[in-house]
Symmetry: C3
């Protein structure tokens, strides 16, 4: 086992014998770290910075987390994930295998990120939103440049498989981006957008639960697995805040 | 080397000194396992389940295979592959590097899966079909939900690079999906489909071998590398079974 | 540490204790190799071949580089990169994390390859060009076949996020491929192409720097970070050579 003696390790922490823990890592209680992980890495180590892994976090094998980030409580990190410096992940987040978080980003509570999602720098993924496999959030409007216009995904939004969001675009509250879209505009709240070229298609209540006439969206009305008990109230309060 | 003493290891098995083999793994003869692999992992170990790796299998470095799966004879697994629980892989399959098989799926004999393919749960990829790089098979029609409508790919089909198949859709026998398609219908047998929006374009014999007037499809008429000697007969028999 | 005693290691080389170095690897001075790397691997080791890693190269964790390749001076390889045999990488190249270079390819000086780029065999990526995340270069016109028609990307070209280039197609000097394109023609020099279906949209000077009327392209006129001091002269000389 190769755990730096400058790392601080809480109680009931399980670290695989093949994982590597660098200096300046603070691991709280009940954390699990899988095989072949590289935790707290930095290209240019800076002893004034820490990686904080909060309680009950589960990091699966082959994942790499840079120093100078925070991983919130109860968060689950998949296999082969890369999380770079200055990433703030709040509590109860899931990050799927092979996802690549480039740093300088905020991922708010209860966000679910599926496999192989690419999150460019300066992204803000707000609470309770979903990014499905192979979604890409970009940031450079005239590549290559030093301009960084991060993507904003507002709460309770859905971005389906393989969609790309162009620099600085905003997915407004509870919107739905269909699969394989190229999002080049701000998508209105509670609106369906899809395609390449991308178009707004109408309100989210156009999508029905298969074989029924029931609205599939807002999804929180029918899918509450692992969310807080007062999720309906949280939803209403956030909706009021974001849709004026 | 970190091989569980509850694993059963056959003859002439080569396991890298940096690989990890968990409990309840059964490895048959002539298997090779590369560096930094994690073989037989489970989030909640269940001693009544096994991972069976049949003879002559070759697993390349950094791959992760969960417990409660079967890897068939002569199968080759690339680097950085993730195969989750309840995956049945038959004999003579290839799985390319970075591919992510989410479990609860069946991959039949002689299927070839290229790099970075994402196979959602409840997929059935039938014998002798090909999935090229970055293909995604989805399964949830109203994400997020608990509904799982797996994709079915019938024998001898071709799904080209970067195509996405939407939940529950079926690629019928010997069909051809062009690159970067978003498949939202069942594609007829021996038919070309492509695009986003997706359209059926006509019979597979429209595609010619470059610089000739010869039909490129069915591909088995011109590409027999590594297939069984009686592949023509197998093809005819399966065609009769699937095209009525 | 597992370094073959048949490897030749230069001065001031830093190899992580968890990395693996195979036979026939030649590592020059000032090279860094990160955790869990597999350097010089070969399916069928051939002692007449070498992997040469030139001076000042930095290889990040979990990367795999096959034998019989060359990595040029000052090149940076990200995390989880796979580079197969017969890859020639010149000096001052960057290869982003999760990129998959399938071998038999040439990547010329100062090329920048972002994350999760897939480079099929027989590609030639010429000097000073950029491939952004999830770009795919294909090579087989009638998959599956033994035909390999590699992609050529000429100098100073830009291929934006998630674009796919079909077999044998050429991106001419200083061209710009927009995001999520499916390139099925040769793209003219200094021309914008985008979409699926793909179309040429006009000269690169149509794209402006945001909030200005200034041309964003050729990009070298405004972005010189880390390039040689005489980059303007190099650009003019190469332009003369490629645009006649």
């Amino acid at each position: 086992m190769t755990i730096s003696n400058k790392a601080k390790i809480g109680k009931n922490v399980s670290i695989s014998s093949t994982a590597k823990i660098f200096d300046n890592v603070i691991i709280e209680d009940n954390v699990m770290i899988g095989d072949f992980c590289s935790i707290g890495f930095a290209n240019s180590p800076d002893t004034s910075k820490n990686l904080i892994i909060k309680k009950n976090v589960n990091i699966n094998s082959h994942s790499i987390i840079y120093n100078n980030s925070i991983i919130g409580e109860n968060t689950i990190i998949g296999h082969n994930v890369l999380i770079r410096e200055k990433t703030i992940i709040e509590n109860n987040v899931q990050v799927g295998s092979y996802s690549d978080i480039e740093g300088y980003s905020k991922i708010e509570q209860y966000v679910k990120i599926h496999s192989n999602v690419h999150i460019g720098q300066h992204s803000n993924i707000m609470s309770f939103s979903w990014l499905f496999p192979y979604v890409i959030l970009t940031n450079d409007p005239i590549p290559p440049s030093n301009i960084r216009q991060g993507v904003i995904v507002e709460p309770f939004s859905i971005v389906c498989t393989r969609s790309t969001i162009l620099p600085g675009k905003k997915i407004h509250f509870g919107a739905f981006v269909g699969a394989s879209s190229l999002v080049n505009i701000d998508l209105k709240a509670e609106t369906i957008g899809s395609g390449n070229p991308f178009k707004q298609r109408g309100p989210i209540n156009l999508i029905k639960i298969p074989d029924t006439k029931l609205n599939a969206y807002p999804w929180i009305s029918r899918f509450k697995k692992d969310y807080p008990e007062d999720i309906e109230k949280i939803y209403k309060d956030l909706r009021k805040k974001f849709i004026k």
